[in-house]
């Protein structure tokens, strides 16, 4: 019997409505939120890490490092103020990698499979997962900003609003990078390599801790690496948006990188092309 004949016999409903897509998206976001709530230590560590940098590292550097007037700042700023966008991006970077770690864990433990056997298109599931991871990272950033403000980091009031679109874009870019990496990591134990070869180089070879003109003065090679690092542009996008300004170059780089990483992640989890095909989809 032909496939066509099959199609016409048993088809009480076909496809999904927009409402059903939204239910699926909401379900994936809800699960990510529940996991976030249940894993309090994840939230605490996500908050403690940048705060340690802010409280200790920034306090020391404040006396050593002078930050000249560079856009978007219109006057001299304290080092704590300079480093805050970098720490915000750091939260999103770690969250993206944490999400990657959780995908590797889910794959090893098997519950990733339940996501992959959903009848919704694979790209939609991947993008939904990315959005949920980004939403969690924004919650972490909000908590950090509250503490940073109490600590004395001065941010314009409207900056809390204007930074939101930047956080969404940077969160998507880093979440997609994490998801792409998760497809490349065969086992959980290999995740330490991500720390050494992705997180640390991305963070330190960027404008998170020092303005790029300072880096350029000390090492043109490192400066070039920083300029090639998409994370640098994520930080600058956040930095400018905190002051209600838009850095077009940063926006373009973050957008392009987010699109490339997302397409890579979708291809990596594609049933016909992805790495699961070669690896057998995890444990038997």
């Amino acid at each position: 019997m032909s496939d066509l004949a099959f199609d016409t016999i048993e088809a009480p409903t076909r496809g999904f409505t927009v409402g059903q897509y939204l239910i699926c998206l909401r379900g994936i976001m809800w699960r990510e939120a529940l996991r976030f709530v249940h894993q309090r230590e994840r939230f605490v560590s996500a908050l403690v890490r940048p705060l340690v940098w802010l409280f200790i590292f920034a306090a020391g550097f404040r006396q050593i490092l002078g930050v000249s007037i560079i856009p978007p700042y219109e006057t001299y700023v304290l080092y704590e103020v300079y480093v805050t966008p970098g720490l915000i991006a750091m939260i999103q970077l770690f969250n993206g990698m944490q999400s990657s770690l959780s995908m590797v864990y889910d794959r090893e433990m098997g519950n990733m499979r339940m996501l992959l056997v959903s009848p919704f298109p694979r790209w939609f599931l991947i993008v939904s997962k990315l959005l949920s991871s980004t939403a969690v990272s924004i919650l972490q950033v909000a908590a950090f900003l509250v503490v940073a403000t109490i600590w004395g980091v001065d941010i314009p009031t409207w900056g809390y609003v204007t930074v939101l679109p930047a956080l969404v874009l940077v969160g998507l870019m880093l979440g997609a990078l994490g998801m792409l990496l998760s497809s490349l990591i065969k086992q959980l134990e290999n995740f330490a390599g991500v720390m050494n070869f992705v997180i640390f180089p991305m963070f330190f070879a960027s404008s998170a801790l020092y303005p790029l003109w300072l880096v350029q003065q000390s090492s043109p090679v490192v400066y070039t690496i920083c300029r090639l690092n998409p994370f640098t542009y994520g930080i600058e996008l956040i930095r400018f948006s905190l002051y209600g300004k838009l850095d077009l170059l940063s926006l373009a780089v973050v957008l392009i990188a987010a699109i490339i990483f997302t397409i890579g992640a979708i291809l990596a989890y594609d049933p016909s092309r992805g790495l699961l095909v070669r690896r057998g989809g995890g444990p038997a």
Partner: protein, 259 residues
Amino acid sequence: MNVISPDMTVATAVPALSVTGVSHSYGSRRALDNVSLTVPQGEFTAVLGLNGAGKTTLLSLITRLFDARQGSISVLGYRIDREPGEALRRLGVVFQARTLDLDLSVMENLLFHAALHGIGGREARRRAHAALLDVGIAERAKDKARNLSGGQMRRVEIARSLMHEPRLLVLDEPTVGLDIASKVAIVTHVRRLVRERGVGVLWTTHLLDEIEPDDNILILHLGKPQAHGVVRDVVAASGQDTLRAAFTALTEAPPQEAA
């Protein structure tokens, strides 16, 4: 729900699952070689094989964790590679590895699964409650999944797999690691689904005591199909007296080429 759904009567001619000439390799290692299989609606079909026979690979292809290199797979007439959404919405699956999110409660696990099938709100809660009642575990709905026993987790996974009312249920060695009572309860429950709801079931196992004389079976050995048909026919064709003897004979020798 213990009745056969109305549209099932017109759809029984369509096999719940049709696997035709499927082959798959991981790199240079051939995991499946020209496997064909049909699971009619309302029937129990088992894939028997030792470890490494290719059972899990076959289920991974049926559930489209990845696509088959050769051959075709259809669920209720929908090609899994061409209309994956239509095929997967008619398919329920219980993987061999535990797939519950241990940090979520039993109910949350079920509601998450419902959302992945576009079912939300009260309808999702209603179905989740009914599914848990059906497997006799409703009183644990609020417990964290990690606090369940192995048998209870498996029952929750079966309840979850039925929430979107699939017409085909595939289970990959669902009783491995369970005690006798849990094992019997699960086998009995799944057979009741076949009998009362007309669900087509594909069950992989290496435990021959889970097989009944009227079942359809496919014996796989090192990725190659060795025999396919009703148990008594397979036993007769093998020249042995029992399924155990037939299975042993067919999985001890080097794999036979598929007919």
